[in-house]
Every structure is written in C-alpha cells, then in structure tokens.
Amino acid sequence: MKVFVCLKQVPDTETKIKILPDHSGIDTAGIKWVMNPYDEFAVEEAIKFKEKNPTAQVWAITAGPKARAVEVLRTALAMGADEAIVINAENMDAITTAEALAKVIQAEGGAHLVLAGKMAIDNNQSSVPQMVAEFLNIPHTSVVSKFEATPESFTVERDADGGTKEVVQLMSPALVAANKGLNLPRYASLPGIMKAKKKVIKEIEFSTLGIAATEQKVKYAGFELPAEKPAVKLLTGDATAQAAALVQALRNEAKVI
C-alpha cells in the first residue's frame, strides 16, 4: 500500500525577492530553499498513516531542478519517508507538473493515498493537487485540517471560506491537500538525517514522460516588485487627537471610509 506525498521546494519565507534585469523571473542567487510549509503537514500525515498501517510505504515525490530539488526529498526521508523520486524538470506550469506527477505515481503502481500541501507559497496557485487527482481519476479534498482513515475511505475536514468546516468522506484511493492545523510536523531525527543522506533517490527525466511541449498552457513574464510606498504619515497628539486625525484622514484624504 503506497502513500505518495507531493512536495515542492520553495524559497524560505524570510527571502527578500529580487527580480532579474530582464523581468523574466526572480533572481535565485543566494536563495535558501526549503520544503513548502504546507507540504510539511502532508509529510507528517503520511508518516502518521504509516505508523498506524504498517504495510504502508511513504513515497516522497517532487518535480523540479534535480540538483537542488533532491534536498526537499532528503528532508522528507529524514522525517520518515521510505522512498523518494525526483522528476528532473524546470519551468513547468501547473498542468504539466501535475501530469508528470500523476504519470510517475501510476507507473509506480498507483497510490492508496496521495498527500500534498494546499498551496505552494511561491506561485500561490493552489492547483497541482486537484490536477493530480483529476489525472489519477481519484476524488480529492483540499485545505484539510483533520484526517481520519478507515480501510475503504478517508474522512476529512475542509476549511472553507468564512470559518466554515466541511466534513467530507472520500472513497480510497484519494488525494488530500493539507492545511495548517492538520498536525504538528515532526523534526527530523539525527539517525533519520544520516539514513536520508545514504538513501538512493530515484531520478526520472521529465523528457522521458511523453508530455509534449504543447501541454504547457500558462506563461509568466514581466516580473516586478510592488511600487514603493510613500513615507508614512505619522499622526501626533494624545490618543484622542490621534484617533480624530486618523478618522479625518481616512474619510477626507484617503476616502476609504
């Protein structure tokens, strides 16, 4: 019984973004790459599932530039994943990424459960998990903060807009995309880190998957930083005077009230 966890490597949240001179993307020099924060919840849930289901095997999978992307797999292995696969690829859009992941999962014999983070914090697309589910023809729930498994199905809680919670039952196999709150991701243990270092990571070239260049649907260009803000206007006086000045400014100057 295989559990696949789809992972993405993203710039650390502390990263100050710099744009390339031709605006074709961001300058990745000096960026510290980490596991997408939401993916940590997915890895943790996969390992918890394995702890309860000893026949389960956790396979970590990522698509990205191999040289650095393997690090996210080592992190997952150190946390407790059993096997890892990297699909060596660059500059794919969501749909080709999802198709590649789905093809490899299928080639490995399919999954009982696929886990992913609800969103990658780099492009904020929230697309790949649902697309993987469609390509695998399995049900999915995204933004999940509670997960329970029985042999035939999974019962999950989805965080919808406005604090609403949806309780959903998915017949297995299924895909679940994790939200914060699902669990507390464990730290890698020292023996785990040692083991992960030695583990052979399976490498697959994207070009061998038979996904045509015309499958790519979306292109991004014209990267730019937000416009500089003018200096802050500080309001002075005692609390009452400051409050009055602010309300005045919001109504008559900024006109937002």
Partner: protein
Amino acid sequence: MSKILVFTEFQNGKIKRSSQELLQFAATTGNTVAALVLGSTDGAQAAHHGATEVLFSADAGFNSYNPELFTVATAEAIQKSGATVVLASSSSTGKDLFPRVAAKIKAGVVSDGIEIKITGDDVKVKKPFYSGKCFATATFENTNVKIVLMRPNQLPVAAADVSKSATVTELTFTKPSLKTIIKDIVKGTSEKLDLTEANIIVSGGRGLKEAGNFKMLNDLADVLGATVGATRAVVDAGWVGHSMQVGQTGKTVAPSLYIAVGVSGAIQHLAGMSGSKVIVAINSDPNAPIFQKATYGIVGDAFEIVPALTAEFKKVLAH
C-alpha cells in the same frame, strides 16, 4: 466576438459581490457574457449584472460543494457554451474547482488575479507571487479555453440593472458516480465576510498581549463593518483560529483599508497584506517595520488608541 462564461456564486440567495464584479467586467469587454448558475434556477440576478445567457442546474447535489460533481458539470457547461474565456472568483470554491476542471478539459488556469485585460480572445492577468513580494503577468498558450480566477474586490461594481434579461437554459450533464460524500457542513460562527473578500480588515498581533483583548478589535471592526485578521504569532499562541491568519502562510489580502494593531510587520506578514490600498499601523515601537509599509501611523499604546478610534468612528459614522 468570443464568449466569456462567468462562474457565479451565491450567498443566502444573493449573488456574491465577487461574481457581480466578474459579470460587469465581462460585459465591458465587448464579448458575449454567459453565466453559470449551479444550485439555483435564478438566472435573473446574473442578467441584472450583464449576462445575456444563463446556464443553470438546480440539481440538489449543488447545494453543497462537491468537487467531483462540480467538475463534471462545469466542464460540460464550458464545452456546451462554447466559451473561450472562463472567469471565476479566487474563492474557496473557485480555487478548488477550476484546477481540476482545467486538467479535465486540458485548459490553462491562473488563480489570484488582481488585474485582468481581455481584448477579444487575448487574456492577460497580473497576479502576486510569494504572496505579494512580487507580481508577474500571465499569458496563455496552447489552450482553447482560458480560465482566470480573480481575487474579490479588484474590479468595480455598479448597481444592478433590473431591466436586463437573459436567455436561460437548463444545463444537462451525465452525473458521475461520486466517490466524494459531503457528510456535514459546520457554518462559521462569524457573520462577517471572509478575510479575502473583506473591504476593511482590522488585524491584531502579539501587541494585544492576550486572547481576550481581541474583543477590542472586534468592537472596532463592528463599527467599521470590517473583518478581523491576525498574525501568525497570535494564531500559534492559540488566541484565534488559522482562518484568521494573514501572511505568506496565511491569507493574502488586499482590502481598501488594513488597520494593523500591535503587529510588528515581519516579512511574512507584510507579504500577505502589502497590496492593501491604505494601511494604518498602530504600534508602540516607532521602529517597527510595519511603519515602512503604512500609509498612516500612530505611535502609541493600542489599549489607549483603539478605544479612542472606535469612539471616534462611532461618532463620525453615526451622521
């Protein structure tokens, strides 16, 4: 002329403002505007905002969001309508549904749009990356259908024109055997708009000292009709739920007015809210980084400023 299909969402029987924005915008592009209405027979509201065609299905299955059912029906509607552009809101439903639809019909999809330009069939969408640390413009290729999910509050809305009407057609589709069962829906306790739809947000950080003091922000928010947000520090402390977190690992928001109280302005928090039109910072530390992003700043004690502000707004808004 091409056709734009707008996926409409309703709340308590009323078409959502975010859907009104999309319909009205679509009508300005010179293309035919069709609306998809799932879970209701009410095509009139979509017509009042600019749709001249409405595809609807009142199937009871649409009363709650089931990704499998919605995917099949939406894909069918796109194909039947002949639309080449699909617009939806970057809402909880829109963001979940449309990537799956895109994979099904092999179309391109861009979420979280903040600016959109449609010239005939040509679509350009600006969207934030890294939750707003930078922006880029998306274009489509190799796709017959272009799907764009727009963030709420990015496009203007005029009053409904009740004299307008549309051709209303019932959508037929083959129901799949569902492997997804919606067991229960527990409505959020808040009557407020979701953070991502709110036009005014009052956000609190660790400067509020303890959970109970969020009451002060709720009072201010009530006067302003605002939604309350928070930093990760206070979410992690358990003062408020994660659904209230603003930032790179929370919600990305862009309201007209964002009031940050006792929030230092960490890079991850700024990423999620610096797209706000007007930012007010209330912080006792004049060197807090939040002041670098703020339009207006008050250096002072939140426990004095916030009640004074609530009182002042009450006074002014009463007139």
